[in-house]
């Protein structure tokens, strides 16, 4: 169903010679919560576009946000990855999303064979502090690794 709806659009995009992938706006069931790891902010929106590793999200009221895909939570990145596989994207678009390949799927661990081009921290499934720690504990019951760092983990530091 999903692949069927995306594939024609993908073919059209390929014909237009772009690596951008747009998603149908009318699929309201695809509205989900997205988390910015850097700020901890969340937004309910649907995936509108992926272009060169930049993800565009759009809310139901038409407001658009763009964010680098590796700033999204691990769950969000897996969601993107699933869509990449589902739509059978071209190798060029897959390269744009290369850092996602370092993100482990189903907790099985990542494969970062080329750490020099994909900084290792991107293979870690970073969670917002409020997800990792609470008075009642986190959902997984696992201990917390808190990396306290001067600067932006995904930017200048």
């Amino acid at each position: 169903m999903r692949a069927q709806s995306i594939l024609p659009m993908f073919l059209l995009i390929a014909l237009l010679g772009t690596t951008s992938l747009s998603f149908a706006q009318d699929e309201e069931h695809k509205v989900r919560r997205w988390t910015d790891l850097q700020t901890g902010q969340t937004v309910r929106a649907f995936l509108a576009d992926i272009d060169g590793g930049v993800v565009t999200l759009q809310t139901r009221n038409g407001e658009s946000f763009t964010i680098a895909h590796h700033r999204l939570s691990g769950t969000d990145q897996r969601y993107l990855r699933n869509h990449v596989e589902e739509a059978e994207l071209t190798a060029s678009l897959a390269r744009n999303l290369a850092p996602v390949e370092g993100i482990p799927v189903n907790g099985q661990g990542g494969n970062v064979s080329d750490a020099s081009s994909a900084p290792g921290y991107r293979a870690i499934n970073w969670q917002p502090m409020e997800t990792a720690v609470s008075e009642e504990g986190n959902d997984s019951g696992k201990p917390v690794f808190w990396f306290r760092v001067l600067g932006d983990l995904d930017g200048l530091m």
Partner: protein, 245 residues
């Protein structure tokens, strides 16, 4: 650490499978150090064990946010894995502990003893030459903070600086077992001191010097670097040791 230590597959597996990983940016925190900043794509420079303790800290907590282990300053992948494995052991011990705080303290002290610290050093929280410094003086700037591996001086001074950092981490947790994250955030100086330290790796220093090695790297943003230099003030001020803000 983000490009080197976290590229270690065992570190990645441990953090993804055995922990919930999170991070915070300490910019603006009074205990934060200073450094040349660079984007994640920059080539990493060499970095010594424990360097930049005010710039990076690996803190291990229970899901409720109680701290049971810390490792301040740089750790390469192998050393970070040591810290992770120790933390896993401490956390496992807490499951059946009748007195979790005491268990944490005892395990921290036992580890320091295993690392060769004598009971006197552990009790005082000072080691070797560092014992000559007044308590709380926070004289902890080390050559490793500039990515410099110093040869032994024979006096043990530089070695003591590194060992002092390990001792600080262990005694901090032993004396404050299961401190909550909010308590730590309210007074991080208990671990990190009140001074201001500077940290710069070889990579960032090369960006300034523009030597042959640097020519093979992405062109640095010199305007950004110069602005940072101006912000930091003169070099003497950059490297002041233990000064109060």
């Amino acid at each position: 650490m983000r490009t080197v230590s976290f590229s270690n597959p065992q570190v990645q597996n441990a953090l993804n499978n055995d922990f919930v990983a999170t991070y915070t940016n300490t910019t603006g925190d009074p205990t934060a150090g200073r450094s040349f900043s660079h984007p994640p794509e920059d080539s990493p420079g060499s970095c010594g064990f424990g360097a930049g303790k005010q710039n990076v800290q690996a803190i291990f907590m229970t899901p409720e946010g109680e701290i049971f282990h810390v490792a301040s300053g740089f750790r390469n992948g192998e050393r970070l894995l040591d810290e992770i494995n120790f933390a896993k052991g401490v956390y496992a011990s807490l499951e059946d502990a009748s007195n979790p705080e005491r268990t944490v303290s005892e395990l921290q002290v036992a580890r320091l003893e295993d690392l060769g610290f004598d009971s006197s050093s552990i009790e005082r929280g000072r080691v070797g030459m560092m014992s000559m410094m007044p308590t709380g003086s926070n004289v902890d700037f080390a050559p490793q903070d500039l990515g410099i591996q110093m040869p032994s001086t024979g006096t043990g001074m530089f070695e003591d600086m590194i060992r002092q950092r390990v001792l600080n981490d262990g005694t901090f947790v032993a004396r404050n077992p299961l401190m909550t994250r909010s308590e730590f955030d309210a007074s991080p100086e208990k671990l990190l001191g009140n001074g201001t330290s500077f940290f710069g790796s070889h990579s960032s220093m090369n960006n300034l010097s523009g030597n042959d090695f640097n020519r093979q790297r992405p062109r640095p943003d010199m305007n950004r670097m110069m602005q940072q230099m101006q912000d930091f003030g003169n070099s003497a001020n950059m490297m002041r040791m233990g000064g109060q803000r």
